[in-house]
């Protein structure tokens, strides 16, 4: 998965704002994600993190601002074009193709890197066959990589929760992204599962060399693995920097302990 790099930053957002009617969910947000880093966006529930992701991946039209992937503006593109350019993602509340097998899910993930069309499929051309075979092999490898070996033919809906999360990551990886967006990958996990997932994410960068943009509302998860952390509150950036700086930042403490403490408790109770 080596891609030539055009810029020091794989992703830059420039004064991105997203409004829903009167509500400003993301406000004037600029971040710069360095190549091959783990960059975390944290903040209490409702801070606008998921909305920010939706803007990057083209689910929402941004109200204002620009988004630059590897030196090229991607703002206004459709989601399917954006994946092709190299961003893929997972979802806060898992969104797998429930009635497809794990293998099929991952193979769908490879869709943008395949080219076989209608006619190729019907005529079963050599190109189609070899592409199909390679995709299948790659999907098997990815499944093994995320620890789902042996579950290839299970329907996604029948997998336990933790494995669904991993499958979603495998599906996202199958599109060979330059940048992987993970939306609260530890949501709903117990402490030991959380730990495992944290390690897994760290591994992603080490083994595959891709950049990870990570959303969390739980600060502890990201401290150990992030290079840079941006803290959002009410859609605005209130702090940015290395984990230790962020941890010490009084505004962050206020956001989390003041207003956020209650929400934090709730989500933990819910989980």
């Amino acid at each position: 998965m080596t891609t030539e790099t055009k810029s020091k930053f794989i992703l830059e957002t420039v004064h991105v704002t997203k409004q829903f009617g009167g509500l400003t969910a993301v406000k004037d947000l600029s971040i710069q994600v360095p190549q091959k880093s783990i960059y975390s966006v944290i903040g209490p529930n409702g801070a606008g993190k998921t909305t920010f992701f939706n803007c990057i991946t083209g689910f929402y039209k941004v109200t204002e601002g620009d988004i630059i992937l590897d030196g090229e503006s991607i703002v206004g593109l459709r989601p399917d074009t954006i994946v092709k350019k190299g961003i893929s993602r997972t979802y806060q509340n898992i969104r797998l193709f429930q009635n497809l097998t794990a293998l099929e899910n991952v193979m769908v993930g490879h869709h943008p890197r395949m080219s076989a069309g209608w006619l190729g499929a019907v005529l079963n051309t050599p190109h189609t066959r070899s592409e199909e075979r390679k995709t299948r092999e790659m999907a098997m490898e990815l499944l093994a990589f995320v620890g789902l070996k042996g579950y290839e033919y299970e329907l996604a809906t029948n997998l336990p929760y933790g494995q669904q999360r991993r499958l979603e990551i495998a599906r996202a990886l199958a599109s060979e992204p330059k940048l992987l967006l993970l939306d609260e990958p530890t949501a709903g996990m117990n402490p030991s599962e959380t730990e495992e997932m944290t390690e897994f994410i760290d591994n992603l960068r080490k083994e595959l060399g891709i950049t990870v943009l990570l959303i969390e509302h739980d600060m502890r998860v990201v401290m150990s693995i992030s290079d840079i952390i941006t803290v959002l509150d009410y859609g605005e950036k209130i702090a940015e920097g290395a984990p230790d700086d962020v941890r010490a930042n009084p505004r962050v403490i206020e956001a989390y302990l003041g207003r956020g403490a209650a929400t934090q408790h709730e989500t933990q109770a819910a989980a």
Partner: protein
């Protein structure tokens, strides 16, 4: 500029607009030709419009059933046309009995009320049973599942009516009091009595419905459930009951609509509800599905377009026997609205898709 435009829109959008503008151009051209030919005079247009209003009132009443249910369950109750049929068709037998006993001639208002009561009862019954048996177990299922169920129910009901009541077309008895033009305040108005009655009754029903939804406790509960089912349940609202109420309310409107339809068109049969049902759905979409006043306006609008369209547009385009294409106009309108303003004329409350 163009580049930016092309990013969000692909060729299909352009084809869509071409189709849309093509149709629009045809409409304008056709109307222009007809109007400048002077083939029809003003009184004819007035007649067309009044007829359109009358049939539009019927559509509007049926459309309310679609909109109410959609507002709460986000499902198209495809069988609503059959809810409508059930009422009028059953009331037909009562109407015949009333006629044979001479009751209609002696007490036409009372007769009408009896017929409406019968039709409403049956329609409500059909709607509620439908909800209980066919829809309730499917709540939360993927969207197409209840829709397929509703389609099945629609055919099941049509052929049930046919099996039980027979397949022939039945003619409703005449209300002598409603014959001829409206005579009131010492002069004759350019409207048939029956049309005036239909419009007035429909308007009363709609006012009642609006009041019910806005002001009564049950109506408020309905709106709360439409807004957010879970929150409403937490607030102690019995969601199941509200849903039954909604079906019943839609059913009662359809029951009245049935009798009005019978007054206007005289004929009933087992399949009569299907096309008006789809048209009423069109009306509901026109007005922005889920939107109560929208459904009313959508119904009236559709009624008028359908009544004027063939003579105004198709005639001008030189199409022979334009009235045969009346139904095509309604469906074309539906397609156009969904292309250009899927949220309807009045707008539909639906948030941006969530990820």
């Amino acid at each position: 500029m163009f580049h930016r435009f092309m990013r969000r829109h692909d060729t299909t959008d352009i084809v869509m607009w071409l189709i849309g503008f093509g149709l629009l151009a045809a409409v304008i051209y056709g109307s222009f030709v007809t109007l400048s030919s002077g083939k029809y005079d003003a009184s004819v247009w007035l007649d067309f419009t009044i007829f359109g209003l009358a049939q539009g009132s019927v559509y509007a009443l049926i459309a309310l059933g679609y909109t109410l249910v959609y507002g709460i369950l986000f499902m198209i109750n495809f069988a609503h046309g059959e809810v409508f049929t059930g009422g009028v068709f059953t009331a037909y037998f009562v109407a015949i009995a009333l006629e044979n006993s001479g009751f209609i001639e002696r007490h036409w208002v009372l007769s009408l009320l009896i017929l409406m009561a019968v039709a409403m009862t049956v329609s409500v019954l059909v709607a509620v049973v439908l909800e209980r048996i066919a829809y309730r177990p499917l709540r939360g299922a993927p969207r197409l599942v209840p829709l397929i169920t509703a389609i099945g129910a629609s055919f099941f009901l049509q052929y049930t009516y046919r099996g039980i009541y027979g397949s022939g077309i039945k003619t409703y008895p005449d209300f002598p009091a409603l014959d001829g033009k409206l005579n009131m305040f010492g002069r004759e108005w350019p409207i048939l009595t029956v049309q005036a009655l239909v419009i007035v009754v429909a308007a009363l029903m709609m006012i009642f419905l609006y009041w019910y939804v806005q002001k009564t406790k049950a109506g408020k509960a309905m709106r709360a459930v439409a807004e957010d089912k879970e929150a409403a349940a937490l607030m102690g609202i019995d969601v199941d009951r509200v849903i039954v109420n909604t079906f019943a309310l839609g059913g009662s409107m359809a029951g009245v609509a049935g009798i009005l339809y019978a007054l206007l068109f005289k004929q009933v049969n087992a399949f009569m509800g299907f096309i008006p049902g789809i048209k009423a759905f069109t009306a509901a979409v026109l007005g922005g599905i889920g939107n109560v006043p929208g459904a009313m306006l959508g119904g009236l609008f559709l009624g008028i377009v359908e009544s004027l369209g063939p003579s105004l547009i198709l005639d001008g385009l030189g199409i022979p026997s334009p009235y045969q294409l009346k139904d095509a106009i309604a469906f074309t309108l539906l397609v156009l609205v969904l292309i250009f303003r899927p949220s309807g004329i009045m707008g539909e409350r639906l948030s941006e898709k969530k990820a």
